[in-house]
Symmetry: D2
Subunit: 251 residues, 4 copies
C-alpha cells in the first residue's frame, strides 16, 4: 500500500543458517544441496529483486558470521537453527538482541523457536508439541490485508511437514497472522508478530529440514513479505533511559 515516504536503498538481509544437518544428514543435503540458508536467501531475493541485498552467514564461521560489522549492515536477519542452539555463543546472542532492540528486523524460522535469541526476546519457554511424521500442513490466514499475507492463498498447502502443535508457550502475539492445521488434527499459531525495543519480529513455523518447505513458492513469498514488513525505518537506535527536567520538551 502507499506510504508517505520510502527509503531509497534496498533492504539489507542476512540469512543465518545453523548449517549442521546439511553436513550431517544425507536426507537434508538431498533437499538443500547448498544449505538451507542458500535456499532461503534465494527465495527472498527472488521476490524482492532490486529491493533487497541478501547475504548468508552460518554457525561455523568466525563469530558465526555475525560480527558487529555484519549486523551494523543488516536491516533484517533471518534465523534458522535446530541441532546446535547451545553452540551459539552468548556474546553473539547478546549482540543480535541489542541490534533487534535498536530496530533490526528478525525472522525466526521453525525450530528456531528454541533458539537462545528467541527465548531471550520472548521471556517464555517457547515450548510446543511436535511429531515428525510427514503431516500435511495447511496454513490459514487470519489477518487478511496484513502485508505478510500479500499474494499467498489461504490455506497455503504444504504436502509434508513436521507437525508443531499447541500449546505453544509464547507471549500473546501482537498480531496473529497465520494458524496451521495438520493431518493429525493439531493446530498451531504458525505466523506471529512481536515488537521488542524498536525491532519487529516475525515467527513463522513452516520449514523443517527433512522436507522441501523452503522450495515452496508460497512459503518463499511469505518470507519475502515478512522481510519487507520487518525492515526498519532510516533511524535505528535502542530506546534509552533519560533524566527529564520539567519542561524538557519545550522549545
Amino acid at each position: 500500500m502507499p506510504q508517505p515516504s520510502q527509503p531509497i536503498r534496498p533492504i539489507r538481509v542476512t540469512v543465518w543458517g545453523e548449517n549442521v544437518h546439511e553436513h550431517r544428514d544425507e536426507s537434508v543435503r538431498a533437499i538443500y544441496p547448498d544449505g538451507m540458508h542458500t535456499t532461503i536467501a534465494e527465495g527472498i531475493a527472488e521476490h524482492l529483486g532490486d529491493g533487497a541485498v541478501v547475504r548468508t552467514a552460518t554457525l561455523d564461521q568466525p563469530e558465526h558470521g555475525l560480527t558487529e560489522q555484519v549486523l551494523a549492515e543488516t536491516d533484517v536477519l533471518t534465523w534458522w537453527g535446530h541441532a546446535a542452539h547451545e553452540a551459539v555463543s552468548d556474546e553473539v546472542v547478546a549482540r543480535v538482541r541489542a541490534r533487534v532492540l535498536a530496530g533490526m528486523g528478525l525472522l525466526v524460522l521453525h525450530s528456531a523457536h528454541f533458539s537462545k535469541i528467541f527465548i531471550d526476546l520472548m521471556g517464555s519457554t517457547c515450548s510446543l508439541g511436535w511429531r515428525n511424521d510427514a503431516d500435511r500442513e495447511l496454513v490459514w490466514t487470519v489477518a487478511p490485508g496484513h502485508p505478510i499475507t500479500a499474494g499467498v492463498p489461504s490455506p497455503i498447502d504444504i504436502p509434508e511437514q513436521e507437525m508443531y502443535s499447541e500449546y505453544f508457550d509464547i507471549p500473546a502475539p501482537e498480531e496473529l497472522v497465520f494458524i496451521s492445521s495438520f493431518t493429525g488434527g493439531e493446530v498451531f499459531r504458525s505466523g506471529c508478530t512481536f515488537r521488542r525495543g524498536n525491532g519487529r519480529i516475525f515467527y513463522f513455523s513452516p520449514g523443517d529440514q527433512e522436507y522441501p518447505v523452503y522450495h515452496h513458492p508460497h512459503v518463499r513469498r511469505v518470507l519475502a513479505n515478512a522481510v519487507g514488513w520487518a525492515a526498519p525505518g532510516p533511524a535505528i537506535d535502542a530506546p534509552t533511559v533519560a533524566n527529564r527536567p520539567r519542561g524538557w520538551f519545550e522549545g
Copy 2:
C-alpha cells in the same frame, strides 16, 4: 519502509466535514474561514503531494456528498462531526460502514467519537469526559516506529485544545499509538487503531472547532501519515460467508 509491491496510483482521499459550526459560530469561521474540511484537506495534500488526490464532502450536500459513486472512488475517508451527528442519514452511515468493511480506510477525528459511524463500528458507547477550557494538550507517542508517528516529535505540543479524558469507552485498541495529557492532569488514549472487515480505522482526538488545531504542522503530519497507513491494497471487498465442500481449497 520498503514494501514488496506498491500500487502506482495516488491515494484517493475524501475529507468529510459536518460544516455546521463554520456557518453558525463566528469564532470558528475566524479560524477556519473555508471550513474545517478545507483545512484538513490542505494538511493532507501538503504532505502527500502527488501521492494523494484529496477532495471534500459536507453534510449539506445531496447524500451528504457521499454517494455510492464518491465512496467507490474513495480509498480513505476522514470524518469530522460534532453538532449534527443525528442529521446524518442512516442510509449514508450504512453505506460508509459497508465500504469500510470492504477495505476503505477511515480516520475518525475528535468529536466524531460520537458519530453514528464510529459507534456502529466500535459497538461501545464511545463516551468520554470533556472540558472546553483551553487546556494545553501534550500528545505522547507510545508506539515509536509506527508509520503514523513518522516525523512528529513526542510530545506534540498543542497550546490550546478541548480536554478529552478517560474513561474513553472503546474496545481495547489493536494498537495504542498516542496518549495525551492536559493542563488539568487528565489523560486520554488519543491515537488508536482498529480493523473492521478489511478496513483500517484510526481515531485521533486532537481537533476541536474552537482552536486552530488543524493548522498545527505536527497534527497535519499525523493526518497525512494516517491516510497512508489506512489506504487499502488494490483488492477491496468485504469478507463474505461461504459454504465450503470438503477439499474445496485443493487444486
Copy 3:
C-alpha cells in the same frame, strides 16, 4: 483463583434460545426434545450448582422473553440463534445491547455469530466459511490458565459438528482462548473474548443444532466457566459522557 472479594448471591443466568429448529426439524427434536435452551441451561446449572440461578427465554415469548425486567435481573445472557435472526425485534436487540454496555455478560453461541446483537457489538460482518458434513471438531486451548478453560482437556474432542472456518471476520479478540480444527483441515478461532462498555462477551462456536454438542460434558463445562468469567461485579452501569471542570476529582 482467589479473589479479594466475592459477591454473595448466585449469578443470575438467562439462556436465550431461538427455539425454531426444535419445532420444525424432527432431527433436532430428537437430540433436544426440550429445546436446545433447556439443555444449555441444564449444562450450566449442573456445574455452577448453588452458584447460579438459571432460567430460559425464547423467541416466541412476548418481547422474546427479554423484557426490561428480565434483563434487569440477568447477570449473564447466553444467545443461540440461527434460522430467525431477522425475526428478533430491533427494540429487543437495542435493549440487550444497552444492558451489555452496562455490564451484563454475554455468551454468543455457534450460529449466533450472525445474530443482530453480535454484529452490533462487533461492528464487522462476522462472516465465516462453513460445511454441514459431520466433521470431527478438535478444540485446542491456546490460553491455559484462563478461567474459561478450567477443567477441560486440550483438545476437546467433538465427534461430529458443523465445520466453521476462517476467515472469521471479527475484530481481533482481546483474548484468543480456543482454536478448533476440523476433519477437512480447516481451522477456526472458536473461543474469543471481547469487552464492550462494561460488559464481557465470549463467543464460543461449538454447538450446531444437528449434533448433540450441548450434551458434551466438556462443552458444558466451558459454558459454565464462561458464565463465571462474564459475570459482572456488583456495580453495573454503562459508561457515560461527563463534563469535567478542572480539578473535578479533588476532594
Copy 4:
C-alpha cells in the same frame, strides 16, 4: 466476581525488597522505618486478611531470601529494587523466572522496571524517562471492571512521586489497566499486565523510595487486588516440549 471453583487455602505472598536505601538514606528510613518491604506486606495483608499469608525476603539474606523452598511455597512474589539490581545473583533470577513460567504470579514495582527478572521476562530494554522532583501523579483507570481496579477511584491522586514517562520500552501490554499523568505533563503506562509461561505479571509504577507512596490507601488496595489477580490455580507447572504420536489425545 463469582468463579466456578475456588481454592480453599490462602494465597502465599512473598514481598521481596532490595532494602538498600532504607539502610543508606535517612530520608527513606524516615518514611519506611521497618523497610519498604514491611510496609508493602502490611498493605497487602490489610486488604486480603485471612485470604493471604504474607512474608518478606530481602537482598541481604542468604540466596536473597528466595531459596527453592521459599519459592515453592510462594503463590505471588512482589519485587521492589532500585540501587542494587546488579547485586542480585543470576542464579536466583533464573530460579524466579522458572517459577514464574510455572505459574507463580509476579508484581513488579516501580524502579524494578530495570530489575534483571523484569528485563528477562519482557525481552526489551524496559527503559523510560524520569525526574525526581515531587511531581503529583494521577493514576487513571483505563480498564474499568478489571479486578485490579476494584475499589479505587479514577484517578488515584498521589501528591508527590518520582516522574516516570514514555517512551516506556515494554512489549505491548496484554491489558493496559492504568495510565498516569504528572505535574510536568508527562504520561506513563503505569499499570500493565503480561503473561509468561503460566505466570501472570503485573507492572505497577507508583512507589518511589523518597515518597510515602506505599502508605497511600489506594495504592495498597491496588497491590492487594493485583495479588488476587496474579494468584495461580492449584496446578502449577511450566509448559514443556512434547513429542506427540498421531492420535495421542484419543482415549
